[in-house]
Symmetry: D2
Subunit: 359 residues, 4 copies
């Protein structure tokens, strides 16, 4: 079941790349939450394809249509359903894939699980396109949190071997987060951004693709949210992040680097700041201690693998003839999905935090 059952909200995503529509049902939102359709569309545009170097040529309108749960721009308290009608479907592109699973895709594993009944057109229910409904939920959550003083943002930390600096995990500000999320290419450093774009263009010329790392942060989350063991906010967040196709790694705060520090280096000592607020000098814990928020910025990084759809010829099998064969994937594909995954990662964080804060 592709339902996320949070503590307070439930998010159900439906649709396939080439079905009538894709969409989301969000249950548990309080009544009276402002739904700013402009803000949602702006957010969705960051995920949608554009004409730039890194993105697919398929034009995804991604126009969210509110079906239920909203009246006069406010949530009614009933289930919110939003759909995006699929318009630009070229199903013929995909017919051959039924027997020759694409490496790095869900074609083969879905065939086994769903016994050939699965919808393979355009990746079906496994398409990256399914992150669009997730972003609708994320946009609603993010807007709500912003009203409550919580700002969420992200940047492209790296593409292939080109990386820029991490956020300052102690001092990262709402302004910084807003600034980087409003940029056409989501790096803090324009220079690094240009280098990444060049690298992506190169990969495209090579009929190949690239991956990268996204760093995402939330500032303004109060201390004391989350819980112990299975109830930890990082458990929820990790579940959400790994529900996004192409994510292969996830770390909080200092993450894997913390394994190379001594305890005395990695522990973040507490102090009272000038306003009497408890803070930590460092933020290796990434804003979460023992599954609960500490009041420090929440910081996580996610590894996005290179787009599996590449134009290069690849080895695969023919499931009908039971023979080894080759495949050439045609059609429209991103040579790097990292830039478009930024709002998706923000959506995961927004939903994890919203789920705690609306209690």
């Amino acid at each position: 079941m592709s339902v996320f059952h949070g503590k307070n909200i439930s998010v159900s995503i439906f649709g396939q790349s080439h079905s009538e529509a894709i969409g989301v049902v969000i249950e548990g939102l309080p009544s009276g939450i402002t739904i700013n359709e402009d803000s949602i569309k702006t957010f969705m545009k960051r995920r949608a394809a554009s004409s730039s170097a890194f993105s697919t040529q398929r034009k995804e309108g991604d126009e969210p249509v509110f079906i239920s749960g909203v009246l006069n721009g406010k949530t009614t308290g009933a289930a919110v359903c939003v759909v995006i009608y699929n318009k630009d479907q070229r199903s013929k592109d995909y017919s051959a894939l039924f027997y020759t699973p694409r490496p790095g895709h869900a074609d083969y594993t879905a065939r086994i699980k769903y016994c050939g009944f699965e919808d393979t057109r355009g990746g079906g229910a496994f398409s990256g396109r399914m992150t669009a409904p997730l972003c609708i939920a994320g946009a609603i959550a993010k807007d709500y949190l912003e009203e409550k003083g919580v700002t969420i943002g992200s940047h492209i930390l790296s593409v292939s071997d080109i990386s820029e600096e991490r956020f300052d995990s102690v001092n990262v500000s709402a302004e910084e987060l807003k600034k980087v999320t409003s940029k056409p290419f989501g790096t803090v450093s324009d220079e690094k951004g240009r280098a990444m774009l060049e690298k992506i263009a190169e990969a495209r010329n090579d009929c190949d693709s690239l991956g990268g790392v996204i760093e995402c942060a939330a500032v303004g989350v109060p201390a004391g949210y989350g819980g112990e063991i299975f109830d930890g906010i990082e458990s929820t967040l990790a579940k959400l992040v790994f529900s996004v196709p192409a994510v292969k790694g996830f770390e909080i705060g200092a993450g894997f680097d913390s394994t190379k520090l001594c305890g005395s280096e990695n522990n973040d000592p507490f102090y009272y700041d000038e306003n009497g607020v408890v803070k930590t000098f460092t933020n290796n814990h990434g804003g979460i201690l023992g599954g609960m928020t500490s009041g420090m910025p929440i910081i996580f990084r996610a590894a996005i693998k290179p787009t599996p759809s590449i134009a290069k010829t690849q080895k695969t099998v023919n499931l009908e003839t039971k023979e080894n064969t080759e495949i050439e994937i045609k059609g429209r594909h991103d040579s790097c999905i990292v830039p478009r995954a930024l709002p998706v990662m923000e959506s995961c964080l927004a939903l994890a935090v919203l789920d705690e804060l609306i209690k």
Copy 2:
């Protein structure tokens, strides 16, 4: 709520470090599963403290007592409850911590969440000791899976900056996994193991602690288990792994490294092996594609931060006087919990796989 609600099983963990007992209720296990108490105890011993260089001096008997759900060595189909009575509690050690939260621990965040009603003795519900009931559930799951042809094992990939080689993600065998899990110190290479132990001893002498990375694998999992989006097996696994205190990072297959590969390198091409089984030449996907198992070994790595309890003096706050202060943590603590976390990581993987396979 510290309940894991899987697709088919539900695991509820209860207890505090110094309560009457700690324990676990596992619901949804089929009837007739063999409960091998010896095997469970052997598994638990790997998690329990020993007298070696890296572990706490507290003697945790960790004797599992079956309360319900098992009759004549088989599950009855009703809820399985197992407890471990807490015997060796020195509660006085912890009384001062109520006002001076330990850096890197849940003391402060729990105070905010639970308003001072939380049990701080020995870390309460946030203690690493709470992984013992998780291991009971894991041991049952692991034994069951072994009967079904699935073997799970793990090794210490690194402690601080000393690391050994990763498992061969394509060819890792059940035998290899069994061999390394039966070793007193869980490295494949004895030489690397000795180096790690020395490093840990050093840290202990410095009143400090170390972290490390654990690599965990499952072989023999059939293809086609899991599901899309929130239903992916890596989502479930990530949730479980991050429910373990001290985990700060998690990656599947090539993980963060995959972000430095091209798509043509990272994609794992399919082929038919001599037995007509679909396999992949490489295993950068770590046995999971699109949220579903591929039949290749499942491989993940988890980053374990250095033990937060260290003997060195640390800065902290006094929550009563609202002043900055210092803390010296006394008592019995591991200078590196990585070795004891091996069965815990295996438990997470066993539970995630069991939850899929018993359907």
Copy 3:
């Protein structure tokens, strides 16, 4: 959250009486289930308004549109979303109700819960119209079960003080169930049906309304499904039945009557029938013993209160002026919803049984 989380399926209903659409997302259906749109439409028609004596004059097309999860007439295994676009909305009818809650409706309680943000048009998310998406899910479940040898049907046991005979709880057959569900007015006895229709017409002339009791049965359900305590199939069924507006009572087997029997009368003795199948001589248990199916017909009855929307003047309050006042409800309303509730009750039973059988 209006999500039903079963053991294997999840059903999420969304929409309001006057929103863009109403609909349902069903997760967890296996791939390859036949979706017979004609059969679904036939089933939906039983719930929809017709021109007969008992029903509303509002013409509810109730045309189900499949959005996702179905390909070539079979489920793909992904979430199935089906919507009904709302066409015939006369929102102006309802504007006054915002301040004068209708007796017997959710107007007042929703006002308190949702603070005035709720959608009051046509009863909003509390409208009986929301049973249409439930029936879509029910129709799919019922068709699937029929293929597996399970037949579900129901009849109008009573309207007001006119009642017909109960099903023979031991011998009720699939044929009988199919016959009564195909009748234009769902009584076994045509004579009793006519008497009920007359009584309903009378109530309508009096600007009043009537309730009644529905009896619903499933034959062919194998023994051994369900579970103990919270896991019992009657717990699931009761939850589903009470999620339907207007239901005020529910009983299984002999139900309330069993309280007047001695144990020796109420207990259903077991015997082997000529085919070696274990059966019971009587069926006071209604096919469920200890939360699990016994193989005997499952029988339940549900009490449906008289339609709360009546044309008679009624006392109520004005929530703005804080004064007592009166209300006259205009518009189109059923004087008895019992006939239209038949497929709704069947849907509840079908979903409860499906949820067990698809494991």
Copy 4:
């Protein structure tokens, strides 16, 4: 799985009649709730066997032992686990039942579901004894609600054909509820109580048993709790009530009687009382309208079937020899469990209300 997953709490019950212990894990309780062990024990005594005419001769100590989640008489916020050690087990009484299922019990259905691995001793996980842990959770909930101004109580409305008057559904008071729950035999009318006791004694002399109806009420529940469709508080309540063995019917407010009223009689008109509170003149809705509380008393009735264990010889089957046979049930059994079921019904109501109010 015998887990109740509420909106805010989760209740997991474990144990068998003759296992080491039975118990309950309650997750989601806020920290700081007072745990009054005396009050809990008093409540438990109402459920436990006494030496009176109606009850079993088995002496169930039912001593609750707190394992976790409580410190200094207050909840810590972590999972609360409470067990009752089973002491007085005479397992030999039950050995023969493995092959000859008792009519009216779960023996046969459990055999099919659990394939012979189930624990049949004393009814195993299906025993009425499993309501003891439910009552522990209920007692905690009831005490908490009492502090919040919500009082819950119940009375024996009928035993067999002897019944007393229903609560006044509009005016029933906290005092009345407290009074009747403190009586040794839970009827409002002592005369009716005596008649019921005589009838029960008669049944016992006949080697037979009786059932009855319990009416349960909550006063002081504020308006606006619950939700629509699957989220209705009566859905939750119905699920809980039917999780109790022996319950065969459930109705809210006027229940089945409402089907004989006209809409104009059944609708409860609103008015402002002298304090400006919205009330209804009548309470046929039983305190719940559209799934949400109205502020009026919540009233429900549950049908409890006659105890299935009777000393009379009964027909049954031998599952080993596959022949029809007879059974005589020996041992200690209540001839009427209705009196002992009163606190169980109150527990269901308390948990359903608590689950809403602690949000």
